[in-house]
């Protein structure tokens, strides 16, 4: 980072305020929370992907030293505990709906925090053991005897959709929960009938998992006197978690408090409530002591929500010049063992056509359940999958029908003058300069000089390939957000917000906004987010909503504080409010030496007895808004790889990214988001996969020894560039920046790999493109 911040204002790469504690070991993560007299929970998890629970005998476990209690699903039901209130579809009004084409509602089944009748995936919780230490609780869990009736299991996405597949719910007609037909069927069929060329792709965007480095942990407390539950657990949002827990416990929301401080990564994986959160609170109530649970990494591989897993067949119709006429196909998303979320399916299919001019399209969109760990939105939910499909289809079409890959993109890429543009699924792209982003990325990646570099590589006996991928990323999320700002006479400013930092540096970037708008020192801003006794409203951190929504409610609140401050200053300095100007934290009379600082005004607000009612008391303001428009961040990435044909090993030589964020608040943080996003996307393209044994249904990736994580030596330095074309649907021109790194990364890497292998007649390679797969592709062996 060669550029230093020259101020703390918007647009400056301000170094992070949270770093001091995180660098010195003073961070406070969930497992760092310990309460007096706490006891420990261990979860007994199903070893079977699919099994009916006949009986649970906890006698031996209860007789063990230190074991306090064992609870199972029947205890949970007997206590009147309710299912987890999952929203299967996104609640944002701008999102495309996915109604079943036969008019029936989407299938959903209650999901309890602990298995009641059946285990539907290996790792589902069967019983919870409470003991004096973690080790004693784990020993106790091993001593529980469960009588299972093992049932046939299905884990594959396409296999699960088969009407003859083992069925997870007896009362469902099949494992298919959603079966929608979206777009214009007849128009699309007509366009395909007159097409000169049709490119096709059948692929599976494989199952991966988010792997936040901090394993989940939770401490539950119950106060019998007030009948109040307090959960200490890291999550993407505190308020939603509180509301969900209140529904599970069938208690008023005031009876639940959620607390968290530092959260060690999220990526969507931590975005929704987990069963263990309800279980530690329930157990705390039952045993009368605080209960702590910390997830092992191997347990996380079984029970953390997983992501992606979309089976796609897609076709792209072109005329003889290469103009896109239509696209069609089928997407099947795998929800895993419960009907928890169909969001990735929904968020993907609605932008299948990406940033390209597509007169019509038609897709069948299905969601299935299977005997696998449940899936949820994972960084850029649904979009990396469909961007992969679109960008692969373009490269396939270019190669098969003799077009230049870049010219084919350029011909069909929407121009600024065509925006706003409604895509064939009804999504309205507001603004941007897609051509400029692509041109910048091609320049950054030196596309023009590639031929020379390839020739040099060939001399060394290796293969070089280059790829490009454009993307658009629909940002929606929970629509409502609230900010509360209070200026204190002692020089501090409290900012209360319903958005949790999971590593995005909110204590810095949100403070930059307050600094710029209220003229207060950066370090005077205290960001308060992780305590529902203080934070009343807020949607949490997901779908690029943090800065997008946070900035607006902070802006509104700051403006109200300034308006109030002017009236108080006028009273103090005995002038008319209209002659007061606010700048750099001071209220000054125009063309006069007199001025008061914002903190003097805050003191006056608290002290003056004769102020009007709305000005008396703390100098504070709040803004509570719902954001009903989607935002569409976009950009283009270019990737260059070198492959050793003898070994199939691959090296990323160069990776260049241009991502448009509308207006950058802290470019240092944004570049960091892009770097991390790229690696998560490249990880999926080249190495990561949650493997399930197709015969037994057993998960085979249970630790970092089996699940390939991207490491430092898999990458070069990245060339990332921020583009700032103001967003027309955001009052401050901002677009989200957290997901763009990941969204095009799958497609651009595989496009580069296939380009490198083209001389061997390779037209496509499935993810993850491991050295073995690459070697097989080169040597003509089946994948």
């Amino acid at each position: 980072m060669s550029i230093s911040a020259t101020s703390h204002k918007i647009g400056e790469p301000v170094r992070r305020r949270e770093d001091q504690r995180l660098l010195t070991g003073k961070g406070r993560f969930s497992d760092d929370v310990n309460l007096p007299n706490q006891v420990y929970a261990a979860m007994l998890r199903s070893p079977h992907p699919h099994a009916r629970i006949r009986a649970i005998d906890s006698g031996k476990a209860l007789a063990m030293p230190g074991v306090i209690a064992v609870f199972s699903g029947s205890d949970f039901i007997a206590d009147g505990m309710q299912p987890i209130p999952y929203n299967q579809f996104t609640l944002h009004p701008a999102e495309m709906q996915l109604p079943n084409s036969d008019g029936t509602p989407a299938f959903t089944a209650p999901c309890y925090s602990i298995a009641i009748d059946k285990a539907r995936y290996a790792g589902e919780i069967i019983a919870i053991v409470i003991a004096k230490t973690v080790n004693l609780a784990k020993d106790g869990a091993e001593a529980i005897e469960v009588d299972y009736e093992v049932l046939p299991a299905v884990t594959g996405t396409i296999a699960a959709a088969d009407s003859k597949a083992p069925r997870l719910w007896d009362d469902a007609r099949s494992n298919v929960c959603v079966d929608a037909d979206v777009g214009a069927k007849d128009a699309t069929a007509a366009a395909f009938a007159r097409a000169a060329h049709v490119a096709t792709l059948t692929t599976w965007i494989q199952r991966v998992t988010g792997v936040p480095m901090e394993p989940r942990a939770a401490v539950g407390e119950y106060d019998a006197a007030t009948q109040r539950y307090t959960l200490h657990a890291g999550s993407g949002g505190a308020v939603r978690l509180k509301k969900d827990l209140a529904l599970i416990f069938d208690t008023p929301v005031e009876k639940v408090r959620v607390r968290m401080d530092d959260v060690g990564g999220n990526f969507g994986t931590r975005g929704m409530i987990y069963p263990e959160f309800a279980l530690v609170l329930w157990a705390a109530r039952r045993v009368g002591l605080p209960v702590k649970w910390t997830c092992d990494r191997s347990e996380a591989f079984l029970s953390d929500f997983q992501g992606r897993d979309l089976a796609v067949t897609a076709e792209l119709a072109l005329d003889k010049e290469g103009t896109f006429l239509a696209m069609r196909g089928s997407n099947i998303g795998n929800a895993g063992g419960h009907t928890g979320s169909y969001t990735p399916l929904q968020k993907g299919v609605e932008i299948m056509s990406s940033l390209y001019r597509m007169p019509c399209a038609n897709f069948r969109a299905r969601a299935v359940v299977s005997n696998t760990t449940p899936t949820r939105p994972y960084r850029s939910s649904g979009r990396p999958e469909v961007m992969f499909v679109m960008e692969r289809l373009i490269d396939i079409a270019a190669r098969e029908f003799g077009f230049d890959r870049i010219e084919l993109r350029r011909r069909n890429l929407l121009k600024s003058s065509e925006l706003p543009y409604t895509n064939p699924f009804g999504m309205l792209y507001d603004s941007g300069d897609y051509h400029a982003a692509m041109d910048s990325a091609l320049k950054l990646g030196d596309w023009a000089g590639f031929a020379g570099r390839r020739a040099d590589t060939k001399v060394r006996g290796k293969l070089r390939g280059i790829g490009a991928a454009n993307y658009v990323d629909t940002a929606t999320g929970a629509p409502r957000e609230r900010a509360e700002i209070t200026v204190h006479p002692d020089g501090n400013v409290d900012l209360v917000l319903g958005i949790i930092s999971n590593g995005q540096g909110h204590e810095t970037s949100f403070a930059q906004l307050v600094h710029e708008w209220l003229g207060v020192p950066l370090d005077s801003v205290r960001l308060i987010t992780g305590d529902t006794d203080i934070v009343s409203v807020g949607g949490g951190t997901h779908s690029g909503r943090g800065m997008r929504m946070g900035s607006v409610v902070i802006w509104n609140s700051a403006n109200e504080i300034i308006a109030k401050g002017k009236r108080i200053a006028a009273r103090l300095m005995e002038c008319d409010p209209s002659v007061i100007r606010f700048a750099d934290g001071r209220f000054a009379i125009e063309n006069d030496g007199q001025a008061k600082s914002i903190f003097e005004i805050a003191a006056a607000a608290e002290q003056l007895k004769d102020l009007p009612d709305d000005l008396r008391g703390p100098l504070a303001a709040f803004s509570d808004e719902s954001f009903n428009e989607a935002s569409f961040p976009y950009g283009c990435h270019v990737c260059e790889v070198e492959i050793d044909p003898t070994l199939g090993t691959l090296e990323i030589i160069k990776y260049s990214a241009v991502d448009d964020v509308g207006r950058a608040v802290n470019p240092m943080i944004i570049h960091g988001q892009v770097h991390g996003g790229i690696v998560q996307g490249v990880g999926q393209a080249l190495m990561e996969q949650c493997y399930y044994d197709p015969a037994s249904g057993q998960p085979l990736t249970g630790s970092f020894m089996d699940y390939a994580m991207p490491r430092a030596d898999n990458f070069p330095f990245f060339d990332t560039e921020i583009s700032e074309v103001p967003c027309t649907t955001h009052p401050l021109g901002m677009r989200p920046a957290g997901e763009g790194g990941t969204t095009p990364a799958l497609g651009v890497v595989i496009n580069a790999v296939v380009d490198a292998l083209a001389e061997y007649g390779v037209t496509h390679i499935e993810m993850p493109a491991t050295p073995e797969r690459i070697w097989r592709a080169i040597h003509g062996k089946s994948n």
Partner: protein, 161 residues
């Protein structure tokens, strides 16, 4: 339960531990030094890296009882000065300056590993060497780009110290 005594961050400490207690558990649970993190259970992630008798080790792979008489330094022992005037170690400062951390969970292990790397490999570390040496530390947030820059700068800055 047997007793174990060692020096941690310059202070003499002792405690009663089970035979199976790991050094990382002793640090976190007995000494409340929660800056050392547990990110996995197979010694892969490196979040728990500390210095044991001057060498970087993963504290999840050492039994507490095996550290009798040892000299241990954790992330809490790296900076100097008091609470009011903390002076970051050059490697900590480099991570801050180069935005080498996001969520901060892998950070203590990364920094302890990086300081150890400089001790073993010297101050003039090139990009490839740093990337290779970071093999035992996993980060999910930063894409490693800024970590590598930070280690390079921190290594150079340590020369003056």
């Amino acid at each position: 339960m047997p007793t174990v005594a060692m020096t941690v961050n310059g202070k003499s400490v002792a405690g009663n531990v089970e035979g199976r207690t790991l050094l990382v558990q002793f640090l976190r649970e007995h000494l409340q030094l929660t800056g050392t993190h547990v990110g996995c259970d197979t010694s892969q992630c490196g979040c728990c890296t500390i210095h044991l008798n001057g060498k970087g080790v993963k504290s999840c792979a050492v039994l507490a009882l095996a550290c009798e008489g040892a000299d241990v330094v954790t992330i809490e022992g790296l900076a100097t000065g008091g609470t009011a005037d903390v002076k970051l170690h050059p490697m900590q400062e480099a991570f801050r300056e180069h935005h080498g951390l996001q969520c901060g969970f892998c950070t203590p292990g990364m920094i302890m590993s990086a300081v150890d790397m400089v001790k073993r490999k010297g101050h003039d570390l090139d990009e490839k060497a740093i990337r290779k040496q970071l093999e035992g530390n996993i980060c999910r947030c930063t894409g490693y780009h800024n970590i590598v820059l930070a280690v390079q700068a921190g290594a150079a800055a340590m020369k003056g110290n």
